[in-house]
Subunit: 413 residues, 2 copies
């Protein structure tokens, strides 16, 4: 079976016109552009032989007609502010194109492909709202209290979008046997290694902390070194130790970031009274996260005891890693192999709807290269050939999944 | 000879009413409060037997009548915003009180005491404007181009204060044989060591740099550690090395400060693209300053070559140290000893008018304890007893200076 590249690329370019922002797209969840894009997507689903619904939180869910068993393929069509045209959107059109191809070239008796565009993956109001709603994870209080950065309430946006009272699309465990999501890598690895397809082993868990070091402001000329409570001196000791610990204790795939530092009062001639440091690390393995978390606690304990400053840590984000289904992963590797495309296993360092889906049914992701690793920016881009490759690998993997015994999937996550 | 403590403290408390700000004083150079304080000071000088002038930049200079030889004693009566009541003011009233005591109890044939309140030591417009003007160091362009933080031009303030066209007070090398300045320590050393009088060995020189580290912003989840240009990773290496180098290469009196750090973009999940670090160090010995400056250059050279970031340094302040006159210092130590007051030699970590004066005539400073080391704040305070001690030591030192041969001073700075 072959992807219709022209139809695939044509639909992707059409979708990019909703909220077009130079070479990118500005299409925040529930914005006019977002809702128009979702209506357009519904109509394309209908034309492609699917029965779409736009649900009560804005998800567009299309089921292939005349099937009782399906592989669900999708992602999200909302974007970050001034984002790229591929993040999320490509994965949704992949679903649409694979569904159409299967309907045209496959055997609907074996099953079909359902397609979904989840709402607000990017968290303008509530991160992964659509996928969490699809699996019944969203509490109504969450919807009542969520608002965007300008204070506009989510509940009001749902009403203004005309979604109030609509049914919620829900996962049907009898029907959907697997979830697949294609996505641009949003990083530099595939491009720099010249590999065409990345098969995601897992989505990293994240631990994020704000560490506060409180010393005392003093005149930097008249206060002897031995009498200072210098928050920056402690910061340097802590930062250097964390970089060393993370390097020694992490896996080869672990990433960490000390992304922000705020000093007060922040004057050249005043001993710094306070330093605030943001620390995060990511890994697909819970044990690694636990190990690094203990290292942070130990470093802080050491400095709190040995330095003249008060050193404290506050967790601000705690996301568990999500393992992708190994059997689905093998199917993706095999499909890439079948098409003569180089492929590699890799973690996803960013979050995706597949993270939510993997808690409820076998899920997998494939990545295609990002030019320059750029993403969440209008400069985000991927070569047409790579875009087509991704859809082709998904279609071939679906062929293997629907063509096999129902117990192809080990469900052994 | 004895100080009149009541008169001394009374005048100091009166001066503190000009620009009173809670327990402190807000009396910026050329403000209404500042000019009223200077007029009051002039009248107190007249009453005390001095001939005062308010000069063309706001200096108040009072010469003891009927003398041809003098010790000049003073400081400044302008303050930082919301500053303390002692910084500068105490040193000026010390001069006034010592001049009065000498006139009452001394021998005017040996000489007298002249008094000065320099203008704008704190640099609202031009740091040490008054003392630099007194020694002919100020160029007219400087006055024409200087303005305060709100953009108000110095020249306009001089005009509004009614000073335009007035004569400038100038140092008379035939008359003034020495400059003495009493000041609160503005630091914690005397208090913490229980010492009553500090005799200043020198005013520290300052080297201040802004160091810029430029890397590249990348997604902190999807960019492998080996592919990052992380400005904070380099910052930690640099900061740790500088703290070590300064500790190893400085003198016991050297102080250093990494007082501010600014990170951009400064997000927990973005690899830092840029770090800006402020570095300064202070010492009374030029050789130490040169050694530390070389260490900074070497650290930057090393990181520029070994890290993936661009690392650059820009000097922003370069003040040479000012040595105080050793013979005057000995006279101050001896005077403290005569009164049974504990005394110690110490550097001044902050700048003072004495720094300017020391370039032109033998100069010395004494410090009295600051409660809690606080200064440049309304909380600044010193015990009455310590205030009186400082004046008494100055008076006794003046007695020694004016009582001796004219060549008491070695001029061997």
């Amino acid at each position: 079976m072959r992807i219709n590249s022209e139809r695939l690329l044509g639909d992707m370019r059409k979708l990019a016109t909703f909220g077009k922002d130079g070479s990118g797209v500005h299409r925040l969840a529930f914005s006019k552009a977002d809702m128009l894009a979702r209506e357009w997507l519904s109509s394309r689903m209908s034309e492609g032989g699917l029965d779409p619904i736009l649900d009560g939180v804005g998800n567009v869910h299309g089921k292939t007609r005349a099937t009782t068993r399906s592989v669900l393929i999708g992602s999200h069509t909302d974007t970050v502010p001034h984002g790229g045209w591929l993040d999320g959107a490509m994965g949704v059109i992949y679903g649409l194109e694979v569904a159409r191809c299967w309907r045209e070239q496959g055997d609907l008796n074996l099953g079909g492909v359902d397609v979904i565009s989840f709402q607000d993956e990017e968290g303008a109001y509530l991160s992964c709202l659509g996928s969490r709603s699809f699996f019944g994870e969203v509490k109504s209080e969450e919807i009542q209290t969520a608002s965007n950065s300008e204070g506009e309430p989510l509940s009001e946006m749902i009403r203004l979008a005309g979604l109030s009272g609509r049914a919620l699309a829900r996962h049907d465990p009898e029907r959907e046997i697997a979830y697949l999501e294609g996505h641009i890598e949003q990083g530099p690895q595939l491009e720099s290694q010249g590999v065409r397809i990345g098969v995601v082993t897992g989505i990293v868990g994240i631990r994020r902390f704000t560490i506060t070091i409180v010393g005392q402001a003093d005149h930097a000329g008249t206060t002897p070194m031995s009498m200072r409570k210098d928050a920056v001196a402690v910061l340097m000791e802590l930062g250097t130790r964390l970089f060393q610990d993370f390097r020694n204790l992490g896996s080869p795939e672990t990433v960490w970031n000390l992304g922000n530092i705020v000093i007060s009062p922040g004057a050249a001639n005043v001993v710094p009274a306070k330093a605030e440091l943001s620390v995060e690390f990511r890994d697909t393995t819970p044990e690694v996260l636990t190990r690094l978390e203990a290292a942070v606690a130990e470093a802080i304990g050491h400095l709190a005891a040995s330095s003249p400053c008060v050193v404290e840590s506050r967790p601000v984000l705690n996301l568990e890693p999500a393992a992708m289904d190994p059997a689905l992963g093998r199917a993706l590797h095999q499909a890439a192999e079948d098409h003569g495309l180089s492929h590699m296993a890799m973690p996803s360092g960013a979050g995706h709807d597949a993270m939510v889906c993997s808690r409820h049914l076998p899920s997998a992701m494939l990545f295609v290269p990002s030019i320059g690793g750029r993403s969440h920016d209008v400069a985000e881009h991927t070569a047409d050939e790579d875009i087509v490759n991704g859809a082709q690998v998904l279609l071939t993997a679906v062929q293997a999944l629907l063509g096999h015994e129902p117990n192809f999937l080990g469900h052994g996550k």
